[in-house]
């Protein structure tokens, strides 16, 4: 099992013994052990890697991504971003390096797509520090936003309200927003969940291109094992908040590994063109054998 990335360069992320739980007010009594989303997780993500995170629901994928973006704070453990400890970094400093594309957002205020995408420039404007965060978007900001919207094919929706477009269009707008942050690391939580096939391909193409041309590190979580298989350099397979397997696609996408974690039978063959592992669910007669696999 390979735990470390390409040697030599500072890894984008070095995660050490990360432990996290969503605290609720019930925990104030301290009588019961809180439910841990992540337990002692250790891994790293290489600079310029496309890194996939997979695992069943509740395995901690979303929590991990949020922790990597400093949206959540861990109970114990350490996250280092290009060698700097996340804990000591200011929020806007993190945001200039890391952009997070969350699963779904709700917006009740009538902002347009353009305004939403431009919000990605906030961390950079903070640094320019006009009056502690007040100021206007400059031509550079507008250009970057425009470019990002064209990349993700939402430019034609520039003046539509973000609450007024379809889920897929909204998702693409949020990706454009993340791109506008000009991050070095892009974190995506189920980025293709609402997208039609053509847009799924487009997004993956964008990510690959940015990865190849600019060395953008991409970390994405997905239920779509094939997506992850086709595009990721390495994969982290989570189970119950811990690392079940971390390694290359070949090492992780294996039937017995997947069957243990997902508790169902899977078929793994090869993609006819790329030759990379391809996961398929069994046809109907085989499903009755699911009951055999109990853990």
């Amino acid at each position: 099992m390979t735990t470390s990335s390409k040697s030599g360069t500072t890894p984008a992320y070095k995660v050490t013994q990360l432990t996290f739980s969503y605290r609720s007010h019930r925990d104030r009594s301290r009588s019961s052990e809180p439910e841990w989303s992540l337990k002692g997780l250790t891994c790293d993500v290489g600079a310029g890697e496309i890194f996939g995170i997979v695992g069943p629901n509740g395995s901690g994928k979303t929590s991990l991504l949020k922790l990597l973006a400093k949206v959540l704070r861990p109970q114990t453990g350490k996250v280092e971003l290009f060698g700097r400890e996340l804990e000591g970094m200011r929020q806007d400093a993190v945001a200039r390096t890391v952009a997070l594309v969350p699963q779904d957002g709700q917006q009740i205020f009538p902002f347009t797509i353009t305004e939403t995408v431009l919000m990605g420039r906030f961390p950079h404007q903070q640094r320019r520090g006009s009056l502690g965060g007040f100021g206007w978007e400059g031509p550079e900001d507008l250009r970057l936003a425009r470019q990002a919207m064209e990349e993700t094919d939402v430019a034609h929706l520039a003046h539509r309200l973000i609450s007024d477009v379809s889920g897929g269009e909204r998702q693409r707008a949020v990706i454009a927003r993340a791109l506008t942050q000009q991050p070095k690391v892009l974190l995506l939580d189920e980025p293709t969940a609402f997208l039609d096939l053509n847009h799924q391909l487009e997004i993956c193409a964008i990510l690959r291109r940015l990865n190849e041309q600019q060395g953008l590190t991409v970390v994405l979580s997905s239920h779509d094992l094939n997506l992850v298989s086709q595009h990721c350099d390495r994969i982290l397979l989570l189970k119950d908040g811990t690392v079940f397997r971390l390694g290359t696609v070949e090492e992780v996408i294996q039937p017995d590994v997947l069957e243990t974690v997902y508790r169902c039978e899977v078929l793994v063959d090869r993609h006819p063109v790329s030759g990379l592992p391809r996961v398929t669910l069994p046809s109907r007669p085989a499903i009755s054998m699911v009951h055999r696999i109990e853990r």
């Binding site: 200011r90 806007d92 997070l100 009740i108 009538p110 353009t114 007040f134 507008l142 309200l161 609450s163």
Partner: protein, 385 residues
Amino acid sequence: MGILGGQRRFEGSGEGALPHGDVGTRVAAAEGTPRAEQSVLTSRRWVTTMLTLAGASLLVMIASLRFGTEEIGFVDSARILFGALRYGETGIDSLGPSSVILLQVRLPRVLLGFMVGSCLAAVGVGLQALLRNPLADPYVLGISSGAALGAAVAMLVGFGKTVLALSAISFCAFLGGLSSLIVVYRIALSYGHLPIHTLLLAGVILNAIFSALIMFITSTMNPNRSFGMMSWLMGTLAAPDYPALIVLTVYLFVGGLILFMQTRALNILTLGEESARSLGVEVERVKKTVFFTSALLSGAVVSVSGLIGFVGMVIPHAVRMMIGPDHRLLLPASALVGGIFLLAADTAARTLLAPAEIPVGVITALAGGPFFIYLLMSRKGGLAR
């Protein structure tokens, strides 16, 4: 509503693509087209809008000076005002009766009314953003009912000392508001974070408790005196003296400025706290700043003028419908519109049934309510359109 340079927000109708243009381009809205190209907020649009509203504010103030128990024409008003400024004659003795009325009663009241309306609207904007709730108003956090309770206790006990240019009732009201602020904060604070749903709940509960206490005081007070107390609670804009007015102006202005500095972060905050954090917003700091500033501002306003409803909840909505949700413009614009609105309402309140006065909260609700319904119906519904 084709005002403010033709920038309006409309519901997207979903067919076809708009012509590609520079994101910063402004296209004037053709009459009747269901969709107008909306530009990102530029400094130019900000300045234009604010200047227009400032001009309107000035006009309304000047007009309000005219009306009252006697009409003081514009020429006379100008003469009195310039005379006062030039010769420094603001002392009462040296002026004729109209001058006294204008300078000592009407002008301070006009200024106070504008400031109270401004402040209520600005706080409304801040709280609607903070709580991500379109029903939020300055009274939702329970600070105002704490202030009202402080006032009620002062009236019950007959506490009569003036403190720091504030009347006894105002002073006790402010203390009540402060106490309420501390209680709400302590209840809501959790591991150094300020969860907004807890904040909202704490506010609602405190409102209920304090209202009950006020009702209790009303019921046990001698009925001859409780009338006065109920009248105070209904909202009252009495002519302050200039020292008090100056203190209040500085206080409200500083608070307003602090709120204004948060507006860009407030925009991002509307995405949700986690997304805002991922975009670099220090969410807890912004929340606490907005909370404390809003509470201190609304507490002060209630201490001075009782509970004037409607302005803080509805003006932000109306202004947002007209100029968009970008808080960098929404906040100051709502402040000016709120000031104009309350000033107009107060002018009506003190002239319609002269020499008697109607409580200004009655006018704000009766005038604003139907207008807002009209706005809602012409836009076919709520916040996100």
